[in-house]
Amino acid sequence: MRRVVILVLLLAMLAVSGTVTTTAQDKPFEGQKVVVVTQTGRSIGGPVEDYAPEWEEMTGGEVELQQFAFGELYEKMITSFETGSIDYDVLIYPADWAGDFMAPGYLEPMSQEALEAIDVDDVIPLYSQRITAWGDTVYAFPYDGDSHMMYYRKDLVDGGEYAAEFEEKYGYPLAEPKTWQQYRDIAEFFNNREVETAGETFPIYGVLEAQRRGAQSYWVFLSRAASYAKIPGNPCFFFSCDDMTPQVNNPGWVRALEGYMDIAQFGPPEMINYDVADTRVHFPAGTSVLNIDWGDVGPISINPDASIIKGDVGFGVLPGVDEYWDYEKGEWVAEYNQAPFIAFGGWIISVAAGSDVKEAALDFAQFMARPELVKVLAVSPDTGINPARYSQLEDISLWVEAGFDEESAADYLDAILNTINHPNAVLDLRITGSAEYLDALDVEVSRAVAGEISAQEALDNVAAQWDAITDRLGREAQLEQYRAAVGWEG
């Protein structure tokens, strides 16, 4: 009897231990909490909210999402690193903060195995090799592919009832603008004009561009400055790669700022306080002809809950200029120049090097960056995720299924591909202190737009501040970083 009892007990223990082993294998991160940090709102953070429960169910781990306003996000992340508190395990952040996060070693390098798990070969090299890496080491998974592009109302611009009047006034046919001058002409022509939108006739504005200070508007200005001041074949746009002399106040940049100030008259009076969050509400509501933004507006424009201009939107690469400033020669060059701006570079996902739950964090980061998921997210409105993979850009059916008509889908994907593959494309500033350099630009541009100072004064102030920042951070150190960031080969 005693033996039987022992046998039964042994069997029971085996069964229990078997169950426990099975549970541990099925739920490898049981009891572990992964803290994820990103910006507020549905854009970028929304997919984490939506898909984290699926990961929790699969792994037994728990995800805590912490979201902060974009203006606070950098401070929250950098403070966590600098104080050593490591409050976040997974960080979803803009790629141009790489100089401050990757360079000091705050992030966990991604192994080849981890990169293969997200099918890194499917990612466009611009994102997989440059945006997510510092030097030769990859520190992040690509999540979102970002570049600025132009949106316009093709039902008004591409031929139609306004073509003859426009041509008579400006002396050339009305069509998708290829230069910033044409862009201005179209904005002026349609501003305050009563046009038909979704069956109703009401006046519209010429343009919607973000111009709010302390938001994301300086990228819109940079999108304009790139074609005026980027020299084809010379990757050094923000600074000279000889000695880090700021180029921000050269005549090309100044002309671009004058254009950015001038265009404000063809937008709503509140445009000076508009962030992209505002323009993304107003443009799909049919209130303007032109808009500059990231790729997000494409999926938003086909969302019936947010847009009344579905199918009426044309997509284009940022306009160019008929002459650009060559700072090496010190003169204007009378040649067409187009320089699309890879603004921001996209949101990327990293794991904190000091995380206590590194394995679980890496697993969750892989889960969010996997091709099957980002493919779905890229075609969904309000996710903030734009295409960064061949599988997203080459599969037109994906976009048609999401609600685009075939012509619009092809137009949209062409605009993105032509932007990121453009030989004269400009990468965002990715060096230590980029937040400070860009803040100085933001403030002075905003002062110029508000009429406090002239374009030249504003950009002279920026140049002086950029020089001071460079000197403070060490000119040689900054020069070395800048050359590496733009791929300068001497």
Binding site: A215, N273, G433
Partner: protein
């Protein structure tokens, strides 16, 4: 001449054991105060005279490029050099000067608006009328909100196109039969934006003024008013000769508290304008926040903080001196 002994000169009372026990019980508070308040102040004063910044000092970063390690001495052995650069920068930084001007505008105009309206409301709420308790509670509601919520409310109210105020302006335009609708650039014009920030801050904090001033009014004995009325004083004289002078200490307290608070204004500005348009609404605290946490220039941020401290001390000293002057002249007039 007989002279009262100051508190410091008076011998400590109690037995030796009592005195020791007193010190023992006081020591945790003193230690906490030293650790949480005095030490950070001294530390930040130290930082303000160094080149401490994110990513290491200039010397360290240049040394790293050359493949060597910078000398380890410097401020508190942290390799940061002692420098006066941060303080000399205070005189050259145009953005700082604009932020300082904006802050002084918020303090002077904001406190004046809040005090005047707050006092008027306190006087009204001090009267007997039907529903007084209801209105007292109603007026206090904005103060209960977080500043961020108040700022969002303000942003919605002061939108030039889609807001209740814009709607009223459209109605007024129609009533006046104007060709163009009146559009007030509340947050889009540099001058208007500063005023709008004051209005939003005032909307939230006038109830605080009202609350304290109402308590002060209720503490004034009725018999003083009755005596004055017997002497034939009218309402204006009652206010000028009794209410206002007797409320001076309470007024000084609320003005000082609100003044010091407005010196630190940041949340409303971040939500409504982000410091713009241009640099028209950026405050000193907002700039310090950017310099320290966005730019990582800790040395300079500490120097600006000390500049702000000096400004606050000057404000408080001048204000208290003026109050004392007013009280003295009142006593002289009375005698």
């Amino acid at each position: 001449m007989l002279r009262r002994q100051s508190q410091a000169e008076q011998p400590e009372r109690g037995t030796r054991e009592d005195r020791i026990m007193k010190r023992v019980f006081l020591s945790p508070t003193v230690a906490l105060l030293l650790a949480l308040s005095i030490f950070p102040m001294i530390w930040s004063l130290g930082i303000s005279i160094t080149d401490m910044q994110r990513g290491g000092s200039t010397t360290q970063r240049e040394a790293a490029v050359e493949g060597r390690t910078a000398e380890g001495a410097g401020f508190l052995g942290q390799s940061y050099s002692i420098t006066t650069r941060n303080y000399s920068q205070l005189f050259k930084d145009e953005r700082l000067h604009i932020a300082a001007r904006n802050t002084l505008f918020y303090v002077i105009v904001g406190v004046a608006v809040q005090y005047l309206i707050g006092f008027a409301l306190a006087i009204v709420l001090n009267q007997e009328f039907f529903g007084r308790s209801f209105f007292r509670t109603l007026f206090l509601l904005p103060m209960m909100m977080t500043p961020v919520a108040a700022a969002y409310t303000g942003r919605m109210m002061f939108d030039s196109r889609v807001s209740p105020i814009a709607h009223v302006l459209r109605m007024v335009s129609r009533w006046l039969e104007r060709d163009k609708t009146i559009v007030a650039p509340w947050l889009t014009d540099t001058d208007w934006a500063r005023v709008t920030i004051v209005l939003i801050d005032s909307w939230q904090w006038i109830p605080f003024m009202t609350l304290i001033l109402l308590a002060g009014l209720q503490a004034i004995p009725d018999d003083i008013y009755e005596a004055a009325r017997v002497d034939g004083a009218n309402a204006l004289q009652l206010f000028r000769r009794i209410t206002f002078p007797l409320m001076l200490p309470v007024s000084a307290t609320v003005i000082l508290i609100r003044g010091l608070e407005i010196f630190k204004i940041i949340d409303i500005i971040v939500v409504t304008t982000g410091g713009g348009p241009g640099s028209s609404t950026e405050s000193l605290t907002m700039y310090i926040f950017s310099v320290a946490l966005t730019f990582g220039n800790y040395g300079y941020a500490a120097a600006i903080s000390y500049m702000l401290l000096v400004l606050v001390i000057i404000f408080a000293t001048v204000f208290l001196a003026l109050v004392r002057l007013a009280q003295t002249s009142r006593v002289r007039t009375a005698t």
